[in-house]
């Protein structure tokens, strides 16, 4: 009975799996029943929407986090995954990302897909989404590794999906090679943590580590290896090299999935495995001085990683002329901003500052999902309209496609952090948490980076609105914007404006999630 109740709490995952099987069935049976592709799209979308509604069900009554452990060894200490508000919120984000991807992908699937592989795209996206959901729920290192691969393998296939073209293959190959190597490094780091505690459950590991006084350099190596392995997916320097090539080489919808799905899943893993447990360790009363030094080094390491990531992302983006590459480097820089939250959270033993930092990190993840989701949808629209790949192709776009230019401008301004859009609020809280955690230098560098980024965002807006070319393409020569693109693009724009004006709506929820998740971890131990 209890297992059934457990399944009920995690209906989102079950629903998505059912949808996967439904699409596979449709794909198998398509020749018998004359199934068109839009049936499968509809199946996928409705499955995702139902799953998204399911993420709210636990909030109806009083909600207790549920730890899922093997029947022989119950309890949080042996749990493999936990279903708490953190998991459910990230599930919501990943389902939202999957919705964005499936709608955005429609354009290329319509024009370029092979009849024989119809439906496989959706299956891959949904499986990757399952992987992401489980990553955000993992409380066990090995579970994390398995679900990491569940995310990665469909990801590799998706990047290489349109095999008739040469570029996706190269992009996928880079992604695959580096992904495989990073998974190995991740496993190595996990093995070190296992060595310290004799367990793979993070509660047991960090309880053991908190009072550790010997072999601490080895612990630092372990943590660095884990950050390196996770950092590949997140895209922090120096593990980011695959990102611009992969994003540019593959179709925009898959690049969208990589940036709003995989990257966020990586961050959820960092929060679960690194941030939250280290916060617990810093606030342990029996912590040794050597351990405090380790935490301090970890904090400096994370701060430096954040600085390098932000700076490299922004400076490289300044030079970019290709729209997708610019967005790729912008994603790298945004990941750098989120790393600030990770560094700030473990800086002081103050629980409130840790809560604020975790809240800021999750908030920016949410905002970034909306922003890049909309941005890549617009990329697809730009390709559909006139094969615009270069930012100079956008000259005078405001005259030809008023709403497209407006939507793109809103998203770019939000990415730059201009009030009163949502991007401003999330960035502001990131930097506030840094200042609170006494890392004011990190905040200053972050803000300078943010000001620097305005240059390349504003340049696109300038090209769209202010530049005029002699050979201005008349609007009659453009093809029409696919209608359905307005769903993700319009959703993003409206959300950025409305939530920017009334940010209390997401803030209250996320602040509560951050507080409860931290409290849950520290209370248990």
């Amino acid at each position: 009975m209890e297992e059934l109740l457990t399944l009920f709490e995690f209906w989102p995952l079950t629903v998505i799996l059912i949808t996967v099987f439904a699409i596979l069935a449709e794909s198998y049976l398509k020749s018998y029943f004359n199934i068109k592709r839009w049936y499968m799209t509809f199946t996928a979308l409705s499955g995702l929407v139902i799953a998204m509604i399911m993420t709210y069900l636990p909030y109806l009554e009083s909600f207790q986090p549920i730890f899922i452990s093997p029947a022989s060894k119950p309890g949080y200490n042996n749990s493999l995954i936990v279903i708490d508000k953190f998991t459910l919120f990230f599930t919501f984000i990943f389902i939202l990302a999957a919705l964005y991807v499936i709608i955005t992908a429609n354009h290329k699937l319509q024009t370029d897909e092979d009849e024989s592989t119809m439906g496989i795209f959706y299956v891959l996206v949904l499986l990757a989404t399952c992987g992401m959901i489980l990553i955000s729920a993992s409380t066990d290192l090995l579970t994390l590794f398995v679900t990491w691969e569940l995310l990665a393998l469909p990801g590799y296939a998706l990047v290489a999906y349109y095999t008739r073209e040469k570029l996706p293959f190269e992009a996928a190959f880079k992604y695959f090679l580096l992904g495989g190597a990073s998974a190995g490094i991740l496993l190595f780091g996990m093995s070190i943590l296992y060595g310290f505690s004799g367990a793979t459950n993070i509660y047991l590991i960090y309880t053991a580590i908190a009072t550790q006084t010997e072999y601490l350099p080895l612990l630092i190596i372990g943590l660095v290896a884990i950050i390196a392995g996770l950092g590949f997916e997140i895209g922090i320097v120096p593990f980011h090299w695959w990102i611009p090539d992969a994003y540019e080489g593959t179709s925009p919808a898959v690049a969208q999935m990589l940036t709003i799905g995989s990257k966020k899943a990586g961050f959820s893993a960092v929060f679960r495995i690194i941030l939250i447990p280290l916060v617990m360790v810093t606030s342990t009363s029996s912590i040794s001085t050597q351990m405090q030094q380790v935490i301090f080094s970890a904090q400096i390491l994370l701060a430096v990683a954040a600085i390098m990531t932000m700076t490299l992302g922004n400076i490289a983006a300044l030079k970019q002329k290709s729209i997708v590459r610019l967005l790729a480097y912008s994603s790298i820089a945004q990941a750098g901003y989120i790393m600030i939250a990770v560094a700030a959270a473990i800086a002081t033993p103050d629980q409130l500052i840790a809560q604020l930092s975790l809240f800021a990190g999750i908030f920016h993840i949410f905002a970034h999902t909306l922003m890049k989701g909309g941005a890549f949808a617009i990329v697809v629209a730009l390709l559909a309209v006139g094969e615009y790949r270069n930012i100079n192709d956008l000259t005078g776009l405001a005259r030809r496609s008023k709403w497209l230019a407006f939507s793109f401008s809103v998203i770019l301004l939000s990415l730059a952090g201009i009030p009163p859009l949502l991007g401003f609020w999330s960035k502001a809280f990131l930097f506030l948490s840094a200042v609170e955690g006494n890392l004011w230098w990190l905040a200053v560098i972050g803000l300078l980076n943010s000001a620097l980024s305005l240059f390349y965002y504003a340049r696109i807006i300038k090209i769209m609105y202010i530049d005029t070319a002699e050979s201005d393409i008349p609007s009659t020569e453009q093809k029409a914007i696919p209608r359905y693109i307005w769903i993700p693009a319009g959703l993003s724009v409206i959300a950025l404006i409305v939530l920017g004006l009334f940010p209390i709506i997401p803030i209250e929820r996320i602040l509560n999630i951050a507080g409860e998740t931290l409290a849950l971890f520290t209370a248990i131990l």
Binding site: L413, A443, K462, Y465
Partner: protein, 495 residues
């Protein structure tokens, strides 16, 4: 008791902007023009009502407050309220925006409905900085101003507008970044878990080096906005390339945001640091502010002397005049004499009326004399009589002729500086001479020269609508120049 009036003044323009933006295509440019004019007149009416309500209430501190908790967990509240200083600035804003709309009446260009929508959005941003009493919202309004200005300069501006608009956007945004850090540092240091200016103003801040650095960070943001030398270089480009009505708003209102920020945040909230902080031992912080002001006066003045373009000359004279504001504030901190502060604020209002008039005149010269180049404008009265008269009048007003507002402002600031340090006062007087110098020289060449052939070919008759705003502005300058007491009393109610 929650007052509706301030929220109404604040939100009406942005609602109208939204209407124009969404329906502009169908309703046409003329609709946008008339709607904007109506809204700006309504705003002026609301500001008069606000004045009456303000004078009727008798509480100390801020009046007409409206408070809505926005993000309670983090201490962010939507608070709007006025005291004497922000009240005068709000009235100035409503007035100048109306004048700018009148000056835009004869504008050509495409997509003018977007132009008027952006001006309305700009109005909300400017009013927001003057009305919001929460540091977070203040920052939001501060940054909100940048986006419409970027588009206004970039789309409807002069030949070098692309460079000017980008420079303006990036430069001022970069400066605002330091404001944000400073706000965070202030929030954390106070320990009060609130961003409300009212509560923070009552808190005693430490005056150690860390706090001084925070102060300098925030000061940097305001100095770029004011603008003060040597961080003024965005202004000449932005002003020259912007269309004249936009220059009117830029000079008349945006620059005052910087001065107001210094008074509200640096003087009221961080006043302890302002009065007692030291940058290096023996050099108090207010000396830095005063010296920066003084440098601006002379830098702006000397560069203005060299200009061939009337608009560039007026732009540099703006830099020069805003230097008096900084000087006045520094003198107030040094001597605690309210006259210095009143002079500084009065200079903001005076310059806020005179400078838009000067910029409108530059626009008129551009359109109806055909050029802004001083060398080609010789003998202007022969072609454009009334315009020359008004040009002479406002130039004298800006130079500080007694009887007009500029003189009152300069005089009061001078009193304050004299009490502070006589040497500084003597240097300041030289600055006044410099101001008169570049204006008189410009007038001599433009108005009192031989008639130029260029004007023969290019001069066109000036439509009467242009004079409406100029006459109204002149009335203000004359009335308050002869009888400044009501305004000064308002400013005395300040901090």
């Amino acid at each position: 008791m929650a007052y509706w009036i301030l929220s109404a003044i604040l939100l009406l323009p942005i609602v109208a902007a939204g209407i124009i933006f969404l329906l502009g295509r169908w309703l046409g440019d003329n609709f946008a023009k008339y709607l904007t004019l109506i809204v700006s007149v309504v705003e002026m009416g609301l500001s008069v009502i606000m004045l009456v309500m303000y004078l009727n209430e008798d509480t100390a501190g801020f009046r007409l407050l409206d408070e809505i908790p926005w993000i309670p967990d983090l201490g962010i509240t939507y608070i709007v309220g006025v005291d004497g200083i922000s009240l005068t600035l709000v009235i100035l804003t409503a007035f100048i925006v109306c004048m700018a709309v009148l000056a835009s009446w004869t504008m050509h260009g495409e997509n003018l409905s977007a132009y008027f929508a952006l001006i309305l959005l700009l109005t909300t941003g400017i009013l927001g900085t003057f009305l919001f009493l929460d540091l977070f919202f203040f920052f939001i309004a501060w940054e909100l101003v940048l986006v419409p200005m970027f588009f206004l300069i970039g789309i409807w501006g002069g030949p070098n507008r692309k460079y000017a608009s980008m420079k303006f956007f990036i430069y001022t945004h970069l400066a605002s970044v330091f404001l944000l850090v400073g706000i965070f540092a202030t929030y954390i240091t106070s320990g009060l878990n609130t961003f409300s200016i009212i509560e923070l103003a009552g808190h005693n801040f430490p005056t150690d080096l860390a706090m001084v650095i925070v102060f300098l960070g925030i000061l940097f943001a305001f100095i770029v906005k004011v603008p003060s030398a040597p961080f003024h270089t965005w202004l000449p480009d932005a002003h020259v390339e912007a269309p004249s009505p936009v220059s009117m708003i830029l000079a008349g209102l945006l620059l005052k945001m910087g001065g107001y920020g210094i008074i509200r945040i640096l003087l009221q909230v961080l006043g302890d640091v302002f009065k007692e902080g030291f940058i290096i031992p023996n050099v108090p912080v207010y000396w830095l502010v005063g010296i920066i002001g003084l440098i601006s006066i002379f830098w702006g003045g000397f560069v203005a002397l060299r200009q061939d373009d009337v608009k560039r000359l007026v732009a540099y004279s703006s830099i020069s005049h805003m230097g008096y504001v900084l000087l006045g504030v520094a003198a107030y901190v040094a001597t605690d004499n309210i006259i210095a502060l009143q002079g500084a604020i009065f200079m903001m209002i005076a310059h806020g009326v005179i400078s838009p008039a000067m910029f409108q005149l530059c626009g008129m010269l551009q359109h109806w004399a055909g050029t802004r180049e001083i060398g080609l404008l010789k003998g202007l009265p022969k072609s454009l009589e009334s315009t020359s008269v008004i040009l002479v009048t406002f130039s004298f007003a800006s130079a500080g002729l007694p009887g007009l507002m500029g003189f009152v402002a300069e005089f009061l600031v001078l009193i304050g500086v004299f009490q502070w340090d006589t040497t500084l006062a003597m240097i300041t007087v030289l600055g006044i001479v410099l101001t008169a110098a570049y204006y008189l020289w410009m007038l001599q060449r433009v108005v009192f020269g031989e008639k130029s052939e260029f004007l023969d070919e290019h001069a066109k008759p000036v439509p009467n609508i242009e004079y409406v705003s100029l006459v109204l502005m002149f009335i203000v300058v004359l009335v308050f120049g002869l009888y400044p007491a009501p305004l000064l009393d308002m400013m005395a109610l300040g901090p």
